[in-house]
Chain length 276, copies 2
């Protein structure tokens, strides 16, 4: 049995989790609530830009866990594939500006191509930017997405596939982001977490829960304890595989976005201690 977490030292919240808040409101409220770390979504950078966002984040004393998100490599034309690489290069610059040591990659899928061709283009795209990421001091975390997103969001749908790509590329700055929401159902999950950790490729860890019935395929995630994922057990597997990084709460939820967001952060902290 994995013991509970007893303090908030590893708690990170994604700005998207408190989507009604601006980056400044996220920073102020997380700090006031003793949340030590933040993962920044790129839309939260837009209003004030990455340079000013970086200044705000450095002043806050918050730890920046990662930037969400790069990726979306597959496309049906060369021009679109090039545009995707350019966008990933901008993400690397933004990560440097805000002091994020990692970019999460949602790899993309082009429904007019076969999944195997999308997967080939993903591997090629990551290979194309890996050295630039290394030079910038930014790691890339391949995040496998739930198979229900294989149409347009990601052709990488299991931890096994993400591990295969990371091991094939064999690059110091390319690894894996593990999100319990996407992977909890996979019978090979425990073994693949071990494989990932043993290879030194388990770069980051996202938590939430699978609530049921699912009311919306995108924005109906649960908070830990709301659903059927044994989050603590999965955290135990990650830690048995050597993971010691932040535990990142990433919840897209129309329901929770409708709450008072300060109360929502308190609920997140309760769930972090009681169900994570």
């Amino acid at each position: 049995m994995t013991p509970p977490l007893t303090d908030f030292s590893r708690l990170c919240i994604h700005t998207i989790t408190t989507r009604p808040w601006s980056l400044k409101e996220c920073i102020d409220n997380y700090r006031d609530s003793e949340v030590p770390a933040i993962t920044v979504w790129r839309q939260a950078l837009e209003p004030q830009g990455a340079v000013e966002s970086g200044r705000m984040l450095r002043e806050s004393g918050l730890r920046v866990t990662s930037l969400c998100r790069g990726g979306f490599f597959p496309a049906d034309t060369d021009a679109k594939r090039q545009a995707a690489l350019d966008d990933n290069r901008r993400a690397i610059e933004e990560a440097v500006e805000i002091g994020a040591p990692l970019i999460v990659l949602v790899c993309g899928a082009e429904p007019s191509l076969s999944l195997s061709e999308s997967r080939r283009q993903i591997t090629e795209g990551i290979a194309a930017i890996a050295d630039e990421a290394k030079t910038a001091g930014v790691r890339l975390g391949i995040e496998p997405l739930h198979p229900m997103y294989a149409d347009t969001r990601s052709a990488v749908n299991t931890l096994g596939q993400a591990n295969d790509i990371a091991l094939e590329l064999d690059h110091s700055h390319v690894g894996v982001t593990l999100d319990v929401y996407h992977l909890w159902w996979d019978p090979s999950l425990e073994a693949e977490i071990r494989r990932c950790g043993d290879a030194g490729k388990l770069f980051s860890f996202h938590v939430c829960d699978w609530r049921f019935p699912v009311r919306d395929i995108l924005n109906d995630r649960g908070l830990m304890g709301d659903g059927c994922i044994d989050v603590r057990r999965l955290r135990g597997w990650a830690e048995d595989a050597g993971f010691r990084g932040d535990i990142e709460v990433e919840v897209f939820s129309t329901e929770y976005w409708g709450m008072d967001q300060q109360e929502w952060v308190e609920r997140i902290k309760d769930a972090y201690l009681n169900h994570t």
Copy 2:
């Protein structure tokens, strides 16, 4: 390249695909549209009972491909597990009454149990009824369901898992039902179809398409050609693995249920020739 289908000799429609119709309307309209085979959902039996349904089906000359559905084995009490076995025994009786040579098993999942415990109970449940199915001359097809249904509908979510269970039980009347909707995303699909076919376990084959964006997790399936599944390629894999049975059109769709159902059957026939 798999050649297109050129006639309707293997076309089967599930009664749920034309849900607004009663069993009698399904029978009359399928026959009038030269659809030779039918898979009967249990709710279509209810109004007139299995005996009368069987009489109607025999008179119609339609081929009964299968009865949908048994399963739902896992439960959190012995009493509920027993009730599930009893229900599967009733399904075997109904299959005999209507002349269905196969029952599709949607295996179930109990969210308060671990997935591995649900999976254990599924294997145990199938083992408990397999000899009775054999005595009745009815085969059981384990249908792996998409991972988005792992909360309550099925803890069997890949063809690999279904094959594992079928091979472990090693029973003449236990095999697998392959549905493209649930499995299209799986990088190991081609290999697992071959493994299933080589073992003589590929009992039945369901088609539809994955439309996107998904508007509803249950009732927004597409017709072949509507979405991103290369149905013909998957049919080719099944046939390369020896499958020669009916091709069963199973579409749950609020949109298509809202159409004139005779026009809908004609669209199904077009999609069968052009995209299957």
